[in-house]
């Protein structure tokens, strides 16, 4: 325990030089945790919202369904296989029918994807119950805030909705906005209008048909689903996971820059310290401290910076991180503009892995950059050191 004790004594005695490094390391530590927490929080939130409002516990797709191919959408529906019909009947899943169409709000034309959904469903977190309304002479339509803003429609407004039935005939009717949902998933909002499933089936003349089936969050996908294709979270969240993967280099760069900030301050301080304290190093040797212990002492001094920085960060950073985690940070722009599902506030997530990993990584880097300059001490001649000469 001698070396830590002496190192601590030296650091305390060094005063401002120590605290400058500790504050810098503490800031870097905080920023790494904060930035990573925000990033992790954003991803977790995106996944959570996407699961809650769109993909549930997973989906079964009609074999021809490809949401990225608008030319095949109208043919991508069919009767549910028996296995799926049974889980739908048990309330563990719900079918959704997707049809292309066009909306004509105030004389303008907007291409839309018309989605039929059972109004009583509770599989995904959309207020579809409002679709049980039966406006006089109009189709009840639910849409998101983004779509309402885009089409300049408000609740109670009417517009013409046009679609093509299974026989290839175009039809159009008045539709009334019976509800505008506050939903943060732009994929169920922008360009989407939601109708009661049975009504849409009748409009398109495809009784019992669906494009895909969403299962409940607690249900498990099974292989037994006829020819329909099971799609799990990994597949359905692919775009998010790809975005995360694409972002990784930037995240690691930021992480690296912050670590470098902490490491450079301490490295610089260590190099300077060994240069300035040569006479002291010689004195320590003359008093009976062997070189290995002097190297350990200087390395420990550097490494202790990370301990102090951690303590300092706990004192000032932990309350800030807690505050941000409980209150969130307002986002000044719409995630849909940049193609990301995100809330109006960002909620950071500080996992044990993030906290522990960051602390360990910072401690290791700080120790390493403390050790590298300290190795020079091992080559120092004590008599040169006593005279204040370099090694």
């Amino acid at each position: 325990m001698l070396i830590p004790k002496l190192a601590q004594r030296n650091l305390i005695g060094a005063g401002a030089r120590t605290w400058l490094n500790v504050v810098t390391t503490s800031l870097a530590l905080f920023m790494i945790v904060f930035a990573s927490g925000m990033y992790d929080g954003m991803i977790a939130y995106t996944k959570r919202v996407t699961v809650a409002t769109e993909i549930g516990g997973g989906q079964y797709w009609h074999p021809a369904y490809d949401p990225d191919d608008p030319f095949s959408i109208d043919d991508s529906h069919g009767l549910l296989p028996d296995e799926l019909r049974q889980i739908v009947r048990r309330g563990e899943a719900m079918p959704i029918l997707v049809v292309q169409g066009a909306a004509y709000p105030a004389g303008r034309v907007l291409p839309v994807m018309i989605r039929g959904i059972p109004p009583q469903q509770s599989i995904i977190d959309l207020p579809t119950q409002v679709l049980q309304a039966q406006p006089d002479g109009a189709l009840p339509v639910l849409m998101g805030q983004g779509m309402a803003r885009l089409s300049e429609l408000e609740k109670g407004d009417r517009f013409v909705l046009r679609w093509r039935d299974v026989h290839g005939s175009y039809d159009a009717r008045d539709a009334e906005v019976v509800g505008i949902m506050d939903v943060e998933n732009f994929k169920v909002d922008l360009g989407q209008v939601w109708l009661p499933l049975e009504l849409l089936r009748t409009m398109v003349d495809v009784p019992g048909h669906a494009t895909y089936v969403v299962i409940g969050a607690d249900e498990a996908l099974t292989a037994a689903s006829g020819e329909w294709v099971p799609r799990d979270h990994i597949f359905l969240l692919q775009d998010i996971l790809n975005a995360v993967k694409a972002d990784q280099p930037y995240v690691w760069t930021l992480y690296g820059l912050l670590l470098a900030l902490a490491a450079m301050g301490i490295f610089n301080s260590q190099v300077l310290s060994i240069f300035r304290r040569r006479r002291e190093i010689g004195t320590l040797m003359s008093l009976g401290m062997h070189r290995g212990r002097v190297v350990s002492l200087f390395t420990m001094e550097g490494a202790l910076h990370s301990v102090y920085a951690l303590l300092l960060t706990i004192i000032w950073g932990a309350p800030v991180l807690y505050l941000v985690a409980t209150r969130g940070i307002p986002i000044p722009y719409d995630g849909a503009d940049i193609g990301i599902v995100m809330g109006q506030r960002m909620w950071p997530v500080y996992s044990a892995g993030l906290l522990g990993g960051t602390v360990i990584l910072v401690a290791l880097i700080v120790t390493l950059v403390s050790y590298l300059p300290s190795r020079r001490i091992a080559k120092m001649n004590p008599t040169d050191a006593l005279r204040g000469r370099a090694a």
């Binding site: 004790k5 030296n10 010689g282 320590l284 003359s286 008093l287 009976g288 004590p382 008599t383 006593l386």
Partner: protein, 235 residues
């Protein structure tokens, strides 16, 4: 070698490379220092005094010859063993005091005892006694930067004696002090020598120090030119 010999040096040669040439700092020095002696290496700058002290202290190694300290042949020692020898048996006093700047007076004096793993109680007692001895009991919490030259050297002496070493090597201990402080320091060292039988070996060219020596070894250009028992002339 006598049984109570503290230092035994035979045919000691030390060469230093300097630029493209080699400087002969010590040219076959023979010296024996008994336990409890109060001796000084006297000579002008560059005569090899500090080099000899450093070799005796295991801080430097000889080019040729043998050096035995407290019966131990330094030639066979590793860096760690030499450090252990210094830690346990040798105290150093430097011209420039070499106090650890961020430590208090107490902590500076305590340092050698920390290296020896002494207990808190033992350290407290020994440091108090050493500081009492040099008259600095009232300065325990002061930092070196706030001390005068004389006070700094007294702290250095307290640090050297606190572990009660067998040998104290003092390199120009009064060179940075005025006359009054020099005499004070030397009187303290004489007392310590008389009370503890610690062997003292000085390097000096200060006449004030020479006045206290009981043995004067003249070193000129790396050779011992005279080695004589002297009667201290200082009061």
């Amino acid at each position: 070698m006598s049984a109570d010999s503290a230092i035994q040096i035979e045919s000691l040669v030390k060469h230093f490379p300097m630029g493209g040439s080699v400087v002969e700092a010590l040219k076959g020095v023979n010296l024996a220092l008994g336990a409890g002696e109060f001796a000084g290496l006297v000579g002008p700058s560059g005569s090899g005094k500090t080099t000899l002290l450093n070799i005796i202290g295991g801080l430097d190694s000889p080019t040729q010859g043998s050096v035995r300290v407290l019966g131990e042949d330094l030639a066979n020692k590793t860096h760690k063993q030499l450090a252990d020898l210094r830690k346990e048996h040798i105290g150093f006093i430097f011209q420039t005091f070499n106090l650890l700047p961020v430590y208090t007076v107490f902590e500076n004096v305590e340092f050698p005892l920390l290296l020896l793993n002494r207990t808190n109680g033992e350290r407290q007692k020994a440091v108090d006694e050493a500081l009492e001895r040099v008259g600095l009991s009232h300065k325990t919490k002061a930092r070196p930067a706030t001390l005068s030259g004389g006070e700094s050297q007294r702290v250095a002496i307290a640090r050297a004696i606190v572990k009660q070493p067998s040998i104290i090597l003092a390199d120009e201990p009064t060179a940075n002090l005025d006359a009054e402080n020099s005499h004070n320091i030397m009187r303290i060292l004489v007392e310590l020598n008389e009370d503890n039988s610690t062997s003292f070996l000085f390097s000096t060219h200060d006449e004030k120090v020479m006045a206290y020596l009981r043995r004067t070894i003249h070193l000129v250009d790396g050779n011992i030119t005279s080695d004589e028992v002297t009667t201290p002339s200082a009061p």
